[in-house]
Symmetry: C2
Subunit: 212 residues, 2 copies
């Protein structure tokens, strides 16, 4: 089995060297590059096509350009690379910023070298590893406290909203619900007051990202 081409971008010399020693000494890996800054790494990627790691261990906090900021550039130069973020702190916004930018794994530097090694193997197999506490933050993102606040709207009002959101005009809505145009208007007026909005656009947006 071919060793996994690995790159490390980490400014802390102690962590970098320990990763280097541990992973570099493992025949499963081939350490193709290690850098202390994003700028250095990007420059190398640009200048030397042969530097093409399949997995990158990337410190999230770097002097100069941060790890997160650099992800898009890295992805542009090497689209297939799998990025594992290494982090000292578990800040939700950083986590999501990194994942949105294209990182596929995120783990704390406090975990053991063995865990990091396993994460690399997992990622290379097409999986993803996240520290449990980080994974929890991620899942909480999906269910941010089941705010089943399905709007303070009455059933009738909700019907009107559904029609509007589905692209119907006031007139079409009136026809569909068998009420008059003015009644639709009145409902809309109330809805706007209740939701504290003042345009169809806002209504549509609110409904759409409430139900998704």
């Amino acid at each position: 089995m071919k060793p996994i081409a690995l790159a490390i971008v980490e400014d802390d010399p102690i962590i970098r060297e320990s990763l280097r020693t541990f992973l570099g000494g493992d025949p499963q890996f081939e350490l193709v590059y290690s850098a202390v800054s994003m700028e250095d790494f990007l420059q190398t990627l640009q200048q030397d096509e042969r530097v093409s790691p399949s997995v990158l261990l990337l410190d999230i906090q770097l002097p100069g350009q941060s790890g997160i900021e650099g992800i898009p550039s890295i992805k542009k130069l090497r689209p297939g690379i799998d990025i594992i973020m290494l982090t000292t702190f578990e800040e939700s916004d950083k986590i999501f910023a990194a994942l949105c930018a294209g990182a596929c794994s995120y783990l704390s530097k406090r975990v053991s070298l063995i865990t990091i090694r396993d994460a690399v193997l997992t990622v290379h197999r097409g999986g993803s590893y996240m520290s449990p506490s980080i994974a929890r933050k991620v899942v909480e993102h999906f269910a941010p406290i089941p705010k089943k606040e399905d709007g303070p709207l009455t059933p009738r009002q909700q019907e009107i909203v559904d029609c509007i959101v589905n692209g119907l005009s006031y007139k079409m809505t009136a026809d569909k619900l068998g009420i008059s145009l003015d009644t639709v208007r009145t409902h809309i007026k109330h809805i706007y007051h209740v939701l504290e909005i003042n345009s169809k656009g806002e209504l549509i947006r609110r409904s759409l990202d409430k139900n998704k």
Copy 2:
């Protein structure tokens, strides 16, 4: 240390019994309930306040009400419960449905009993465990392969669209971009032609589910 109160809802007798034997025999856990259907489980929760597991192992596919469908009801009866989904197939939509409903962990039934045990412990500590392949699906949700399909719109047109989608009126858009109201109108006109739509509503909808 007090044992972790555990419940299992799983219709497959083989899996249920093996979980029961393995986890029930571990002094770290106390198996407080095991059911074969969501209906049974909900009824018990409703009738007996004392049945209050802190972690639930829940099969995603059950006869009658599915695991996913039942999550909201469970959460309503026992808000603090941590739910670990057990699944045979790794379908993205099911995964997200479960997470959105409030599950905090998601793993394949193919993993070892030891892994399941560790997942329970992890979850009880406030973490979350996900099978690597499932975790990968989750992270891909955040960065859906930067399909920079930024539509057939010119940069300027895209700016106008962004403003409109963010709830600005034509007039506000004009002010923000420092151009005249008529110019905004002209752009919108062109955009509508290009995208083959004819209302602000459609524009908003299209932009919204393009970027997500």
